[in-house]
Symmetry: C2
Subunit: 197 residues, 2 copies
């Protein structure tokens, strides 16, 4: 039984450290309440050297992206091959609403992480594989009622609303899903066709 895992090349200590770094990062993000998190601090809290952080994640942006990926992986999977209405098969409107419900939940629950990631990615935000995936999906949905270039723009515009700081701004503690509902209404209006029952 030689460790029937998918990857046999990663050493045990490496895996352990990777996990420690991720945990430390999310803890510092949460405790800092939005204040910038330095990688020195992350390394210190994780109990590893700074070099380790960079070898694992390449850069500050890579670390945050890895964390974000972790939080949204299940949504990604559900969208591509899950059951309707999230997955393929449902009418466009239903899929759009279901998708924004899922993405909204991720955003509302990780607004600080989202903001930090945007800040770190800076101009490369629109080349981020995660962003490209969401954009492709949304764009495809809009394309049902719009020409391609218009759908492309609308997808960008809707995703632009998922700015980490904006989500924080628009999410009162007593109504954690307000942002999602607003985005859903907006997206339906943009989809075209009928808004009223």
């Amino acid at each position: 039984m030689t460790t029937s895992r998918t990857e046999r090349t990663e050493r045990a200590d490496a895996l352990r450290n990777r996990e420690a770094v991720l945990r430390a990062t999310e803890r510092l993000l949460a405790e800092g309440g939005g204040a910038p998190v330095s990688l020195d601090r992350v390394a210190a809290l994780a109990g590893v050297g700074k070099g380790t952080v960079f070898r694992r994640f390449g850069s500050r942006a890579g670390l945050l992206q890895a964390l974000l990926e972790e939080r949204s992986a299940s949504l990604r999977l559900a969208v591509t091959e899950g059951p309707p209405p999230l997955g393929p098969g449902a009418p466009v409107r239903e899929r759009l609403l279901a998708f924004l419900d899922g993405l909204g939940a991720v955003a509302e629950g990780n607004a600080i992480l989202l903001a930090a990631h945007e800040q770190a990615c800076a101009a490369d935000k629109y080349r981020d594989p995660s962003y490209l995936f969401w954009h492709r999906h949304l764009s495809g949905l809009f394309a049902a009622h719009h020409p391609a270039t218009e759908a492309d723009f609308l997808a960008h515009a809707v995703l632009a609303a998922f700015d980490g700081d904006l989500v924080r701004e628009l999410t009162p503690p007593d109504d954690p899903r307000r942002f999602t509902r607003s985005v859903q209404r907006m997206a339906v209006a943009l989809l075209g066709g009928d808004t009223a029952p």
Copy 2:
């Protein structure tokens, strides 16, 4: 004590240096093509000390904001007290289109500056007086067909599309007004009522 408070004449060299710093900043922004501009470099190109830059503008964000203010001051004026359709008096739909045409032009012509400003402001973006002004205006327009909270969100969402990097992404050299047209179509769709007869 009647005139000395705000009208305290600015020394000639101070005024000259302020101008030199602004010019140097815009030059470095344009030449850098989006690369981050350090204030050391700005000061060097302007031929002044770094302390001067900070005394005049307070911080990196303040400098970029001053530059942005310069580029959008006339639009601001036209919106508040200019002739229709930009100024008060025209139907909501016309005012919306005129406003987005103006703001779009500013964004398309200053996308790099816009991106740099967003990066520098970070979380305080939504407290920026300039942002608040645009938001109040847009929100007011949307309020003609929407409840207040919805109008507030829609204004945020439309402004979110004015991300400096997104504008750059969506502005091909051969069609410099494409972004503006897209935003206008989107905003009209969000305004509600009739999209097309």
